[in-house]
């Protein structure tokens, strides 16, 4: 993990004031229920239809490689993204790129996979851990050719291979629906932000490179990541995993919403590569200590605990081999996202900047083979949208997040192209298209309803406080679940939107509500503590019952179902 720049810790009074603000949501100035003053003529909205062999959804590191490799494997390929290629999601933030270079490493790939597995307490999927090591060097070489390691802004180097191949790119298009019939993917549907227009794209194969997500938390670049891919896939029957893990990136105590103030060095850094360096870190232990001391998190990985913090007993288990390993500090010129950026003081930061996000590569669609396939025929996922458990339920290998997206994107691209080469062209009945378009536009058609910003803030007030998902216990999670079910049943169906921007917010809010339910149910089910999942009421690692991942899926009655899947095995 990386540590943002420190500032003075807030006083206890400030802490209590913020807690009070969290409890007093009703006093926020945002409109909850109100008449919908629609700014556009909804009846004049038109639909544009596209068709392709392979459709890549998302324009980050995974999406780039998925598109390039699908194209190079002979498939007609198209990219659709709600933002700009290389400038949305977490890609602009990721600057450390892990490579396993046999010429310089002293250990073997087997050693590397074993070390990650020991750190991850078995939570990693060694098939995907190995894949990372085997392919990372080749992906770094391609990125170098495109100029990725010569710049701070990724759009230009990402555009180079896309323009060279003339791959169609639809930017600022929000995909809201995956279309499937009989367990097979047929395409997607969504709408344009810049035009009063819905969009349908028929595709033989779809690769979700939609990233992870959060609850639009403050202080981390997750504002556009709301687990859209995972939630859309869940709604058409895909299995989802890894929802109980917690990312622990921090923000500054002062101006906590100012993402750049805490992480600007990552945005402005020139990307670089790094070799094997396995840890077991990211913030959950600091949240535990802070909870016991009743104070905001002070310090971070890499900082020496002060005397008072050192006295707190218990807390998350760290394998002895990895205790005391601290992420490296940067040298001022690049470096991996594993240490405080140059010049950052490691004190007085607060935990929870990334609330609602799990460990990279640990949450998302369940892989059903070693080539990023989901249980929906023709639907693949890569990067943070795939629950590959490449690194496990805790951060292990420095720089693997960005490299893993490149590696998996390429594998998924080739697999999807291979599938598409033998698949029939999908036919979606007009009636089905009309039905989906009406679902997309529903918030614009409501005469009155809940404002998406208000529902999001209500959700944040339920899910973000430290005592819900950071320090878990059944009583609080059950209480939060009751609130989330209320939002799901009585607010999500009544979200309103006055324009295309609010339409996006409405769909994102709906996705975050379902994601919150997933995180709570998975966290309640895992009655132990392991890696980044810590429960006060089950503080020990339980190897008898919990050498297993948790998969979620929609039952026939629409309810959320959960199942255990033993570690080290792909589902069948």
């Amino acid at each position: 993990m990386t540590t943002p720049v420190g500032t003075a810790a807030p006083s206890r009074r400030a802490f209590l004031a913020l807690s009070g603000a969290t409890a007093g949501l009703a006093t926020l100035g945002m409109q909850a229920w109100a008449r919908n003053t629609v700014e556009i003529d909804v009846d004049a909205i038109t639909n544009t239809d596209h068709a392709t062999d392979v459709l890549v959804v998302g324009g980050g590191m995974a999406g780039l490689f998925a598109a390039v490799k699908a194209h190079d494997a002979g498939a007609a390929t198209m990219i659709v993204s709600k933002g700009r290629l290389g400038a949305s999601g977490l890609t602009p933030f990721g600057k450390g790129f892990f490579v396993f270079d046999p010429a310089t490493e002293t250990g073997t790939i087997d050693d590397f996979v074993d070390t990650v597995s020991r750190s991850a307490l078995g939570t990693n999927n060694p098939v995907y851990t190995r894949q990372l090591a085997e392919h990372s060097l080749d992906r770094a070489a391609e990125l170098r050719e495109w100029g990725f390691f010569d710049q701070t802004l990724a759009n230009r180097p990402f555009m180079q291979p896309i323009e060279e191949r003339d791959i169609p790119l639809l930017e600022r298009v929000v995909v809201t629906h995956l279309i499937a019939e009989g367990g097979r993917i047929f395409g997607v549907a969504g709408f344009r932000l810049d035009a009063e227009e819905t969009v349908t794209i028929r595709a033989k194969s779809v690769i979700l490179c939609t990233g992870a997500g959060g609850f639009k938390p403050n202080g981390f670049p997750l504002g556009d990541l709301t687990h859209d891919g995972t939630v859309m896939a869940y709604r058409i029957g895909a299995k989802v995993t890894g929802k109980e893990w917690n990312d622990g990136h921090m923000t500054r105590a002062n101006h906590p919403a100012a993402t750049f103030d805490g992480w600007g060095d990552m945005f402005e850094r020139v990307p670089s590569t790094n070799g094997v360096d396995v840890h077991h870190d990211l913030g959950v232990d600091l949240n535990y200590r802070a909870y016991h001391l009743g104070n905001p998190v002070a310090g971070g990985p890499g900082s020496a605990p002060d005397a008072e913090m050192a006295e707190v007993k218990g807390g998350p288990y760290v394998p002895e081999e990895f205790q005391g390993r601290v992420p490296p500090t940067g040298d001022g010129e690049g470096g991996a996202p594993g240490g405080p950026p140059p010049g950052f003081a490691p004190s007085a930061n607060v935990g929870g900047a990334s609330a609602g996000m799990a460990i990279h590569k640990s949450e998302g669609l369940v892989p059903f083979d070693d080539r990023c396939a989901s249980n929906i025929v023709g639907l693949y996922a890569a990067g943070d949208a795939l629950g590959s458990h490449m690194s496990g339920g805790i951060y292990t290998q420095i720089g693997s997040s960005l490299a893993g997206s490149a590696v998996q994107g390429a594998i998924a691209g080739e697999a999807a192209a291979e599938y598409a080469a033998q698949a029939d062209t999908p036919v979606i009945p007009d009636a089905r298209i009309s039905e989906i378009v009406e679902e997309i536009l529903a918030p614009l058609r409501r005469e009155a309803g809940y404002g998406p910003a208000w529902v999001t803030q209500t959700l944040q007030g339920i899910m973000i406080p430290n005592f819900v998902l950071y320090i878990k216990k059944a009583s609080m999670m059950n209480a939060a679940l009751a609130y989330i079910e209320e939002l799901r049943d009585h607010h999500a169906p009544m979200l309103r939107a006055a324009n295309m921007h609010e339409l996006r917010l409405a769909h994102e809010t709906r996705n975050m509500i379902l994601s919150a339910e997933m995180k709570l149910r998975a966290s309640l089910m895992r009655t132990e503590s392991r890696c980044s999942h810590y429960r006060l009421d089950y503080p020990e690692v339980d190897d008898v019952n919990w050498r297993a991942w948790i998969n979620l899926f929609q039952g026939e009655d629409g309810s959320m179902q959960l199942e255990k899947q033993p570690f080290e095995a792909l589902p069948t």
Binding site: A87, G223, F260, F267
Partner: protein
């Protein structure tokens, strides 16, 4: 106020495209701060602006919910 001001805009649209949260829109050929409440203060708009037209503030325009005070 998050993204604070846009001065000297040349209407290239780089900041509009580069904002992950759709905060900025084009109006009459110029970039305008339209949905400030959704700004995540990441500065991508400022960094992509070829004429350094954008000034930022660290303050969010809506109440901020964080896990710890």
């Amino acid at each position: 106020m998050t993204i604070k001001s846009i001065n000297g805009c040349i209407g290239c649209g780089e900041c509009v495209k580069s904002c992950p949260c759709d905060v900025i829109r084009m109006e009459d050929g110029k970039a305008v701060i339209t949905y400030a409440a959704d700004c995540q203060i990441c500065h991508l708009c400022r960094m992509y602006s070829p004429v350094d037209a954008i000034e930022m503030s660290p303050e969010k325009s809506i109440p901020v919910i964080v896990p710890w005070g």
